[in-house]
Symmetry: D2
Amino acid sequence: MKNTATLLITCPDTKGIVAAIAQFLYEHNANILHADQHQDAENNLFLMRVEWDLSDFNVAVADFEQAFGPVAQRFAMTWQLKLSEQKTRMAIMVSQYDHCLADLLHRHHSGELACEIPLIISNHRDTEKLAAFYGIDFHYLPMTKETKSEVEAQQFALFDRYQIDLIVLARYMQILSPEFVARYPQRIINIHHSFLPAFIGARPYHRAFERGVKLIGATSHYVTEVLDEGPIIEQDLARISHRDQVEDLIQKGRDLERIVLSKAVRWHIEHRILLYANKTVIFD
Amino acid sequence: MKNTATLLITCPDTKGIVAAIAQFLYEHNANILHADQHQDAENNLFLMRVEWDLSDFNVAVADFEQAFGPVAQRFAMTWQLKLSEQKTRMAIMVSQYDHCLADLLHRHHSGELACEIPLIISNHRDTEKLAAFYGIDFHYLPMTKETKSEVEAQQFALFDRYQIDLIVLARYMQILSPEFVARYPQRIINIHHSFLPAFIGARPYHRAFERGVKLIGATSHYVTEVLDEGPIIEQDLARISHRDQVEDLIQKGRDLERIVLSKAVRWHIEHRILLYANKTVIFD
Amino acid sequence: MKNTATLLITCPDTKGIVAAIAQFLYEHNANILHADQHQDAENNLFLMRVEWDLSDFNVAVADFEQAFGPVAQRFAMTWQLKLSEQKTRMAIMVSQYDHCLADLLHRHHSGELACEIPLIISNHRDTEKLAAFYGIDFHYLPMTKETKSEVEAQQFALFDRYQIDLIVLARYMQILSPEFVARYPQRIINIHHSFLPAFIGARPYHRAFERGVKLIGATSHYVTEVLDEGPIIEQDLARISHRDQVEDLIQKGRDLERIVLSKAVRWHIEHRILLYANKTVIFD
Amino acid sequence: MKNTATLLITCPDTKGIVAAIAQFLYEHNANILHADQHQDAENNLFLMRVEWDLSDFNVAVADFEQAFGPVAQRFAMTWQLKLSEQKTRMAIMVSQYDHCLADLLHRHHSGELACEIPLIISNHRDTEKLAAFYGIDFHYLPMTKETKSEVEAQQFALFDRYQIDLIVLARYMQILSPEFVARYPQRIINIHHSFLPAFIGARPYHRAFERGVKLIGATSHYVTEVLDEGPIIEQDLARISHRDQVEDLIQKGRDLERIVLSKAVRWHIEHRILLYANKTVIFD
């Protein structure tokens, strides 16, 4: 596995940006592995992701900010540098619906998700054995309306203790408080079991069944203060027919949820997602 | 082309329905070509479509009601008999967006749609030549807020004169009056350029773009009194990315609209659709 | 869970079959839950699947053959009766590629697959712990060219001992001997990691990559004597682009394989598959 | 419509390529609209497409080769410069199957395909009126085994006379001679009605039906000397079931063929396709 650096850039669009970045990387002997950019003409925005092999690169990571500073300032860039050796530390929150959890854990186990998963939190005990099987710490934190703020405080403490960078709601079935959401901006990914913006809120499969749609969907998105309104990362759909009952929708939906959530997680931990205007740009 | 009869049945679900229908058809020497049924346990409903070759059938069409009456009464059936030789007479209403119209006309021309298309109505002159090319009467009926009810009366007169059974809104871009809708129940098919119930109403592609969805859709449905709330006949979706601008959504959407509308039309004219509880059952 | 019976019928197509079957079931007070039939005009074949609730049915299972005999003989039917309480006993054969195995086990655990899984056989030890987690007997049977027939004999003995009805090759990566295949007709399901008939044989993802296809596929099928030529049960595809390397194809393919294999298994154990002319009819 | 230039580049991959190109464009005041690149590590290849607005660009088109020469030579580039104002001149060859032709003509008419279509050639008269409707010259050139080389010579003369850049086989149903193919390298696009490499050659829908596949496909590709083996541009698939007869496959396939062929044509005329190793890179 190569040790690579990934630079994510957002700035106003103008002439010369790519030339400046490419020249900087060339001068410092970077071997570029992937580069992708996007221009939004309407918003006059330039976004870029560039990944290079660190082995020949002649700027130490500690000195990167100083070295890249002049380029960044010239174009008023917002930027982040991510290193492949610094793996994202992910916590998974789950209810008794364990299909997304089991899927994420198996993908992680088989090497498909290059992150650490040190922590699983649930308001049910159902997934405790599965967590143990994969050797992951499991914390059982049941919650009532009354204890919500207290339990969330415990959750925050766990996130701190385990140095969590990303929180994945793998069918957690609880609405986070505004404080929770505000504390982890662009660091909470949820799976919603409908094709958003259709069927926002509770019981989407039941409402899809009642409406008589011909396809059901699933949507992974970053969690923001407004329920199910955060930036969409990935969506997919499956065909249904009049022969499908609600139970069939739920079953078919599980396959969608697994795939749609796992893609969002993978793109996040590989630093492939940039956000603007409540939308995602996926550099896949 | 065989001359066939298609029987569509809806009734409360109980034991013995299929036995009675199958026995009736057998006794009268029907050669069954297709049979499909659906049971809705929750609503206690039985729905069936059965199509048979009329060549050996020993009941004259004129006598069918009398012959089948006892079976229908025993099970409290709502039923319709459709003959393949009595082709649906379809009118198409269109604006200047002609892609669905051109598609329907070409499909009809190539034999894919077994119906008559004697009439095209538009509030623009753009499609007049296309209508002429296919030898179809074209009526130009522009409309303002003030003339709406007067123009709709002209449209009703045309539907009467041309003996129209089915009205297809092929991107007509006008909202029909409640009188119009009430006059042709389950006989108006619309194409909406979103995945309903997402983006009900105007400018769905623009709103899909703003929301940042990862797939765009199209929906064909029967028109009812509530805008975009009628029974869904067919839906489909296409993947988009951040590289797609609104114009790209519109272009990709055209392919969806063509396919989704043409399927709805075909299923309707082949008598494959049954309606209940604001949903469609498609016997395809 | 209702105790139901499922009758699968194949016979020459003629008039009166449905009437006779429906009458038989009605006379014996069967509450039909699902019925579906298919006619193949070219081959003059009639195929049917009918499932009913056994609670009111007035024929004992032991007497069914005698009671139904006259109907079956009249139409020269080949038929099978399956009871929902007699669950299929499934063995899974697997290599070190464990994604399909993990998927099947999780689906079984969560109630999606109504069968027994008493036995897992592998030529690698990698999946032994996973088998133990789900409480399933695991047999490690490595194999060389020289020991193949001897090891297969051990496998047959295990299938006998565990009273196996269905053998699922969940990426087993070994070619079964003709004796093995002949011993379990229509009882071995394989997952092939391509869209058959494209890329029959070894290394399909590598060959798909070399050919430059724009979609990759997976196919589940019954195993017959000719490699990858058995009746196809299910297929699906995923889009790829020039940005995808072979490793990406393999990763994307795993999702296809999981879904395509699990559908085949579910349809088989729910007695939804009929075979003729090297094809499957899926009554879903 | 902006007047833009598109530069397509292929060269061995090494450090500094993007920096050099971006610097060249920046120095000459190019306003970059789109840029996309691809690296093939295995083949050590770098491919790039960059499109810029010509309005501020300070190199005259006539001088581009000289100005860009040093960059091109330094990296041993193969390159092409395409101007949006120089539209591709496309000839369509067609049999009596006119659905792809009608689709391409309507898309062109509605502005979706930014090319010229001065010429239609057919071995049948069926599409003559359609050509006339869109005001395109139609040449009827029937062909027998004996007259093939003579008729192809007439076709070459027509391509010369109409200054044709791209030949689209829109279900032409004739195999081109090796001379024909060799004369127009990477300038002939065909639509094959299967998911290549499955069902190479004649009657693919019939063979798909016989094999019992669960999805049918269509493939657009550049024509090379080996039948159906040229670089694949686009593919798509549609689900079928046992209820579909060959005629249904043909009908469903027509929708695939239209979409898959029109995408290939659009990408070609927008200079989005680069070729290497018998594969296409699509910069969409």
